[in-house]
Amino acid sequence: MSFLKSFPPPGPAEGLLRQQPDTEAVLNGKGLGTGTLYIAESRLSWLDGSGLGFSLEYPTISLHALSRDRSDCLGEHLYVMVNAKFEEESKESVADEEEEDSDDDVEPITEFRFVPSDKSALEAMFTAMCECQALHPDPEDEDSDDYDGEEYDVEAHDGMEVDTTPTVAGQFEDADVDH
């Protein structure tokens, strides 16, 4: 796996919330082996026995979930959908890769599954991830309260009565709010 790197396991400095040993990692259906999952406030990391692993940044994690289907070949596990592409050993030739470039228009999706041997830990793993996700909201929020800093707005509204009832029909219709 070309994307696996060697790095020290996260510790208290990274806000480690939960460490789950004996956890298998599966990337898009391909098993990466058994290692330890580290759920830290800064990022989600997984390291195998040889110290190789990967980290996921919470802003790239679209969703995470618990899979409770025991008849699934993996058993109960933590499912994580990531908005990023992870390079696997390419079996395709270079020519095929050029075709795949057109997929760049579509948002990349990578599915990770973390299978702990201790199934009773799944609930806590899910909850820890929820807590960490909440610590990483998107910085570019269209509805941010940055208006507070804009002096010219304060000046303009000095002495102006703000009446929420439109005196002119359709007064607010022109406001184009981009979502």
């Binding site: 679209s62 969703l63 618990l66 948002e107 599915e111 991830m129 909440a134 703000v162 929420t164």
Partner: protein
């Protein structure tokens, strides 16, 4: 905070969350936070062929920033009230 309060009022209702990556997830709204991160229970994916791994998922946590839109039961929403509240909040943000 308007939409945070708005979604809180819909907890327990069935919704469909459409993500920016075109995945649609149907489920019961369990909870929402100030960033509009959404927790759904009893979920089903509208396109299971594309995401077979999600078939066995019952509960999920969706990051607010990846949500494109949320489909709501029409009879649970007072659109007039929502529009008025949105206008009020927009005005207040400009002060």
């Amino acid at each position: 905070m308007l939409f945070y309060s708005f979604f809180k009022s819909l907890v327990g209702k069935d919704v469909v969350v459409e993500l920016k990556n075109d995945l649609s997830i149907c489920g019961t709204l369990h909870s929402v936070d100030q960033y509009l991160n959404i927790k759904l229970t009893d979920i089903s994916v509208t396109d299971p062929e594309k995401y077979p791994h999600m078939l066995s998922v019952k509960n999920c946590f969706i990051r607010g920033s990846v949500v494109r839109c949320v489909q709501l039961p029409a009879d649970e929403v007072d659109t007039q009230l929502l529009q008025d509240a949105a206008r009020k909040e927009a005005l207040q943000q400009k002060q």
